[in-house]
């Protein structure tokens, strides 16, 4: 900045005026920061209960300009213990550990004094040969370098040869230390932001030292800051943090296929295939995000993508492997990572960020065809408010403690977050005049019902990992997340009375009607009807199956001559029997599952028609 301003002084009067403004600004900010640098450190890390505050700041996006973000990350990632007294010793231990790793793999055959020339010659293929190792290492280094030199091409920082070399070193050492996973494309883009953050904090310290800002601190605090942000150990500290991130993310990079039977997880009752399939850990994770989160919170969007056969793996592999690194600008990405890291070492927030990102562009997606959708997902549109995505993600996971964020608009595409409708109350207007699909109608619905939807009367989203546990599909990462939040999910679901049930108890006299969409109903054992899930029905529900059903249903269009008592009895009987059927079926592995589930879904329509919570014209 200084060089910039001195340059412009030579150029012209106007620019020199501008430059002097910059200098003035710098002086002012210097004055301000002088009192803040040490204060910021103390306020951030030295107060009682600082950890809770630090986590809260992360999810609120308040670390955006923090000059100690790398220390915060180290705490989140368990690279530093909670007790700050131990930080310096822990840091030193880690640095020594990395130094030892570096020494271990520093093989230079030219410096080798081994006189066994069977081994010590460049053509030796022996495992123990230094030369053989040397050439293998070079191959690995070439692979890594090929990716490192094209990391964040638009950011100068990553084009510097010093930084590139450092990244290569870290990735190389990680690969050698973890021979099972070695180096995989994408790791370099997880490493890069960490290096950037650690370096930024170190530079901030240097700057503070130049301005004598540390003098106001007591000696131990000063030593602590200087040790934690010691420039000498950029590579060491970054390695340790990167290793921690990889610890969680590693399964997402695994190519190992896990074989499992689709219907045993009960992904999709109307699946077209019941063949056993194999999936990578990441593949399963992505499928669960679709089936267990997206489908619940926005079934319209889910079926839109489902019908177009846009599987989450297509775009989701990159989204998750890079922790959304290509979907946001670097500064916004760091804010997203603040939240992911602070939320817990399992990074389980990713699942909800993933869903929130889809919901934020739902209107865009709903009004797009296959290619357009693919384009939006592969080249995620720039979203002006990253915080909104975080807030929405937190809300999706825990609507009771995190209120729904207020909607906003992106560019020409109105972004309206359907109030994550587990239920949608259809106003009479819609009944009379079925509007052709598109987002406008759903927007209308949600606008009318934002109040009712905002109240947290829907069950907490079932964490996708719980489903996994019950089916023995748990990875380490998932295990930790389960232990972390044992209270979430089902417990809330039980506390809350399903809206649809409440409505039916009140009878059908209310002017608005809750529609329980039978086809969208997940018929798995994990979320039977008791979970209160009744997703929104839009007038133009995309399922072809559904239309067929409507036609079949029309033949039953006769006025009923049952009285209220008999009706109630029939409904109750049907509900109970459907429940039993569903639960039993979910446990069985039947050959014709689809057919049976379809039949159950039809029974549900019949029940809802009897109840009066569904009308024939609504099915269309």
């Amino acid at each position: 900045m200084l060089t910039m301003s001195s340059k412009s002084l030579d150029d012209s009067f106007d620019e020199s005026l501008f430059a002097s403004e910059i200098v003035l600004e710098r002086k002012q900010s210097r004055k301000e920061s002088s009192s803040y640098y040490v204060d910021e450190y103390i306020k951030t890390f030295k107060q009682d209960n600082f950890l809770t505050k630090l986590k809260r700041r992360a999810i609120k996006g308040e670390l955006r300009s923090c000059r100690f973000r790398s220390i915060a990350w180290r705490i989140y990632l368990d690279c530093l213990p909670d007790r700050s007294e131990e930080w310096v010793t822990t840091t030193r231990t880690f640095r020594e550990e990395y130094q030892a790793i570096r020494n271990k793999y520093d093989t230079n055959p030219y410096r080798n004094n081994n006189h066994n020339f069977e081994e010590n010659n460049p053509l030796s293929q022996q495992e123990s040969s230094v030369w053989n190792k040397y050439f293998q290492d070079n191959e690995l280094k070439n692979t890594i370098t090929q990716d490192v030199v094209r990391t964040f091409p638009e950011i100068d920082f990553f084009q510097s040869s010093v930084m590139q070399e450092m990244m290569c070193n870290i990735l190389f050492h990680f690969a050698r230390e973890n021979p099972k996973i070695t180096y995989k494309q994408g790791m370099h883009e997880l490493l890069a932001p960490i290096l950037f953050v650690v370096n930024s904090d170190q530079q901030a310290l240097l700057h503070a030292k130049e301005l004598h800002l540390l003098e106001s601190a007591d000696e131990s605090t000063r030593n602590e800051i200087e040790e934690l942000l010691n420039q000498e150990y950029l590579e060491h500290d970054t390695y340790i943090m990167f290793r921690q991130v990889m610890e969680t993310v590693e399964p997402w990079y695994s190519h190992e296929m896990i074989s499992f039977k689709m219907d045993s997880i009960n992904f999709e009752p109307f699946s077209t295939s019941l063949e056993p399939s194999s999936c990578s850990v990441l593949g399963i994770k992505l499928r669960l995000i679709y089936e267990k989160i997206l489908k619940r919170v926005d079934s319209e969007l889910f079926f839109h993508l489902f019908n177009m056969q846009i599987e989450p793996q297509i775009f989701g592999i990159r989204w998750l492997r890079l922790l959304f690194g290509r979907e946001f600008s670097l500064q916004d990405l760091l804010v997203i990572w603040d939240a992911i890291f602070s939320d817990g070492i399992s990074f389980s927030l990713c699942d909800y960020i993933f869903t929130a990102m889809l919901i934020v562009i739902r209107d865009l997606l709903l009004s797009s065809n296959y290619s357009q959708c693919m384009n939006h997902l592969m080249r995620y549109p720039s979203v002006p408010d990253t915080q909104y995505i975080l807030d929405l993600a937190l809300h999706l996971r825990d609507p009771i403690n995190h209120p729904e964020p207020h909607g906003y608009t992106v560019g020409v595409h109105p972004i309206e977050v359907t109030p994550s409708p587990i239920h949608v109350i259809l106003p009479d207007v819609i009944e009379q005049k079925p509007v052709p699909s598109t987002s406008s109608s759903s927007r209308e619905i949600s606008e009318r019902n934002t109040d009712s939807a905002k109240t947290p009367n829907r069950p907490k989203t079932l964490p996708i990992l719980q489903v996994n546990t019950s089916k023995n599909q748990v990875t380490n990462q998932q295990k930790s997340s389960i232990s972390e939040k044992p209270q979430s999910g089902q417990s809330h679901a039980h506390q809350l009375q399903p809206v649809s049930q409440r409505q039916s108890q009140n009878g059908s006299s209310s002017p608005t009607k809750v529609v329980d969409h039978p086809l969208a109903h997940p018929l798995s054992s994990d979320d039977g009807p008791s979970s209160g899930y009744s997703p929104q029905l839009t007038p133009s529900f995309p399922s072809v199956l559904f239309k067929k059903k409507t036609q079949e249903m029309k033949s039953f269009n006769k006025p009923t001559n049952l009285n209220g008592k008999e009706l109630d009895y029939c409904c109750e009987l049907l509900t109970n029997q459907i429940d039993i059927l569903q639960k039993t079926l979910a446990e069985e592995e039947l050959k014709n599952n689809d057919v049976i589930f379809l039949a159950v879904a039809k029974l549900k329509i019949a029940r809802d028609l009897l109840k009066g919570t569904l009308k024939l014209n609504e099915i269309d």
């Binding site: 091409p153 494309q185 883009e189 295939s273 593949g283 065809n369 296959y370 384009n375």
Partner: protein, 210 residues
């Protein structure tokens, strides 16, 4: 309804860094990025062109070099009309990997494609031919011939050499194949907006792997 007559799915494979993404971007967007970030998972691009007054839409799936077939979802290649295997003429190593890629194609794509009752168009491309070469042209030609490639071409994404031509020829072959198989009458069976519709119903969401 979109206004194209045919939609063909093309999948690019080959070692990391041979220039698959640059090739696609040169063709689809007319640009050559100075530095192109590594592809993670898969990328997707669409480009339409006219072949004999017929509009053809090419759906191009650009895969990550390191992924190889095992983690590419089956449905990518199951319904692919064309596989382009790319190597770097400047890198002997990328050429030496070709046999392994061919085995992968046979193992993973072969059966699936045979099951669909049609042959996938196999194309070999030597990219970066603007550079000094390590792989002689005749060696590559021989390799293409021996391994039953339908088409072989050397390209330069940097200098836009043969890039347009490559995709145009692929489109032409696919169009003529499709016309033949339909006895001269063009059908839309292959041109559905959703690429899986022409294949068997089980070939969708649930058998999707990675």
């Amino acid at each position: 309804m979109e206004d194209y007559k045919y939609l063909f799915k093309i999948v690019l494979i080959g070692n990391a860094g041979v220039g698959k993404t640059c090739l696609v971007r040169r063709f689809a967007q007319g640009v050559f990025p100075n530095v192109q970030g590594a592809t993670i998972g898969v990328d997707f691009m669409i480009k339409s062109l006219m072949v004999n007054d017929v509009k053809v839409k090419l759906q191009i799936w650009d895969t990550a070099g390191q992924e190889r077939f095992r983690s590419i979802t089956q449905s990518y290649y199951r319904s692919a009309h064309c596989l382009i295997l790319v190597y770097d003429v400047f890198s002997q190593c990328s050429f030496d990997s070709l046999p392994q890629w061919c085995r992968d194609i046979d193992q993973y794509a072969g059966a699936a494609i045979a099951g669909n009752g049609r042959n996938v168009l196999k194309v070999l491309v030597g990219n970066k031919c603007d550079k000094d070469r390590e792989v002689p042209l005749h060696i590559a030609e021989q390799f293409a011939h021996n391994n039953n490639f339908d088409l072989f071409m050397e390209t330069s994404a940097l200098e836009a050499e043969n890039v347009e031509k490559l995709f145009r020829e692929i489109a032409e072959i696919l169009v003529s194949r499709n016309q033949e198989s339909n006895g001269g009458t063009m059908s839309r069976s292959i041109t559905s907006n959703s690429f899986n519709q022409s294949s068997k119903p089980s070939n969708c969401f649930n058998c999707f792997s990675n």
